[in-house]
Symmetry: C2
Subunit: 141 residues, 2 copies
């Protein structure tokens, strides 16, 4: 699947390709083919407990994948909330800039894999919900 | 840690930074900071059994990380073999082009995460050990 420009606009699922045989399951993510960006930072969260996130990125595109176990991601772009159940290895969640996220309900074996197109130093976080809502309301007005 | 040019030459460990708190452990990999390349393809292997790999990449730089569980990687650049035990989340294995790899002894919960700087279409594999040895001998002569 080649990602089109329209995929840049809103949060949603991206189906990843998988190669399955007797040796295991290989799930792959290719820049500019599966995802509409080039990762500058790749990180993964293990031994997760409680909530994580509770912020938005001002400029960063992200892809979230459950590489093992399960968790859930609540997403809002300023209005309604959508909950994404991160259960399938090949069903990744794409988040454009200005997506508020909350990650929760991690299984003990969960591996939350994230690809981001900014370095940590260059990422700009919004950690105040009211500020986030004000900014998204202005953008959409 | 900033990766220097000398890291490009030979296979070896790269220590990754980790942020650990009550919410879990976040292990991160930043392009051009932790690793000497920009990933074009990210893939992960789950439910692995038996051997994988048994090839070399002619042009591709790779980073292999154990995001969960354990496995081992045998590496040769044409001469001796080194076995790397992939046990720690923050100890990644860097492989420059022309590294023959064999992955084995996966635990049932292993997640083998790989970052590569070529797309699958652009990767050139050498799958014949004798050919690989001939080429590395020529290069080193």
């Amino acid at each position: 699947m080649t990602v089109t420009a329209s995929r840049l606009a809103i949060p949603g699922w991206i189906e990843l390709s998988q190669a399955t045989d007797a040796r295991g399951i290989l799930t792959s993510i290719e820049s500019r083919l599966d995802i509409p960006f080039e990762p500058k930072r790749v990180f993964f969260i293990t031994d997760a407990a409680g909530d994580r996130g509770n912020h938005a990125h001002r400029f960063t595109n992200q892809l979230i994948v459950s590489a093992a176990g399960e968790f859930a991601v609540d997403v809002s772009t300023g209005g309604d909330w959508t909950t994404y159940d991160m259960v399938h290895r090949n069903r990744a969640l794409f988040l454009p800039p200005m997506s508020w996220v909350r990650l929760h309900d991690f299984s003990s074996d969960a591996v939350c894999l994230v690809l981001a197109d900014t370095s940590y130093a260059d990422a700009v976080y919004i950690r105040d919900w009211e500020e986030f809502v004000r900014e998204t309301a202005l953008k959409n007005s």
